[in-house]
Subunit: 237 residues, 2 copies
DNA sequence: CGAGTATTTGAAGATCATCAACTGTCGTGG
DNA sequence: CCACGACAGTTGATGATCTTCAAATACTCG
């Protein structure tokens, strides 16, 4: 299936764009603020990096000095409690970025859900670029805000919603984040993360998540469900 | 102006500083990045505002075009679910600020826990100031990050901690935020918010919070407890 | 002092967690 | 191509934590 050299395109396997011109997420990332001149410069200095499924892009507590833009794949962001309990605080999809500021101790770990590609912007280059492109810092501020707002929605979910509400909210969120174009209601939404990750995101146990999914399917909220994808019914009441 | 001329200082009642030179939180807020010239200008154009206990500084869904720096008092930040359930997503104490970006629809409501004073920086002025003081935008980015990290800690608390752990974490957090200087262990920590707010922050019911507080007191984790303050035992195990 | 609100306490019940067993899926190799 | 093993996910039975409903008590303010 995942042929490597045979077919020229349309291949499911991770494939990074050859240049920024072809980058699928450029308009959604900080690169959108770069002028043509800066873009050329960035393309020369910026490192691209592939991260194999399960490997960490950054580790809670370890220093980090780059901003990473996710080009392809997905990541889970997670924090640990001393006794080993883990909480997933978010998921990252193409166009999103992490590491907005350099730090001596990252607040969280980022692990690849599948083989992924990222672009690395060391902050010391970024600072120089920002001087010529003021929009870059504005975009970092804006990004920080939307991350914060997403975290607040997550807080509401964990603090006030029932298991069933949490699961439905999550599924609609994923559908919106990586829903392929048009009306996400009828389309199949991929679930690139295992059940345990979803449970750790929702503050539920694996078994409770499984039962809740089964229940939503029986009710019809979920049209179809497989290990790696879901089809939701329209969201109208 | 409230009590203005009579007593020089040491008054418990809300009292806003007469000028930025006397501002207790200046070094902790964006003002720390302003040069003397900008400070003078800011002092002329910036509006100060008092907010009575219970009143909202900004409302979820309503537009907001200013950044507010809290000088004195406290605020709760909250979000509503359609059916009226509310979740408190954070508390704001002197030196903190809200409204990092102008928006057509605030993500949350900010309500005063007690009579409070804030400084308002309309974003259109802020933008002009930022051009001359590049540090301002960096500080906004940094602030966005620390808010995000606090939100992540909150997510871990709600997703993985037991009622008892939540309450203890909360109390230590407040002690650290508004703990008066030295070792917060033996000092009395004020609790400027009612029990219902604490419960809504912790994702617990009022009654569960009350019972958990009683239990922590019996165990000795809490040395003394009153409606408006608490004394914690040292945090070592 | 007294009304109204905030907080605490009690008893019963619901939701979600835990422990355990079972089933499905995927990759490997005979 | 199918069998096998390992892991991911599901289902079942029981129990703990937290919620709910109810009532008592404490505190604040006029």
């Amino acid at each position: 299936m995942s042929a490597s050299a045979s077919s020229p395109v349309a291949c499911q396997a991770p494939q990074r764009p050859a240049s920024c011109d072809l980058c699928a997420v450029r308009e959604r990332s900080i690169c959108a603020d770069l002028g043509p001149r800066e873009l050329v410069e960035v393309e020369k200095t910026m490192a691209r990096r592939s991260v194999a499924k399960g490997r960490a892009l950054m580790q809670e507590g370890e220093p980090n000095d780059s901003l990473y833009v996710l080009v392809q794949g997905g990541f889970r962001l997670l924090k640990h409690l001393e006794d080993g309990r883990r909480q997933i605080t978010g998921f990252i999809f193409p166009g999103d970025f992490v590491g907005v500021r350099p730090t001596g101790a990252s607040a969280y770990t980022a692990e690849a859900l599948e083989d992924s590609f990222v672009c690395c912007f060391p902050h010391r280059f970024l600072e120089a670029i920002a001087e010529r492109c003021p929009g870059v810092k504005d975009r970092l501020i804006a990004r920080g805000q939307t991350e914060y707002h997403k975290a607040q929605d997550h807080i509401v979910l964990l603090g006030k919603k029932t298991a069933e509400e949490r699961v439905e909210t999550f599924l609609r969120m994923v559908a919106k984040s990586i829903g392929h174009g048009g009306d996400s209601a009828v389309t199949e939404t991929p679930l690139p993360m295992p059940r345990q990750d979803i449970a750790d995101y929702l503050g539920l146990r694996l078994e409770t998540l499984s039962r809740t999914l089964a229940s939503l399917k029986k009710q019809g909220t979920i049209r179809a469900l497989s290990r790696r994808s879901v089809v939701l019914a329209a969201s109208c009441e």
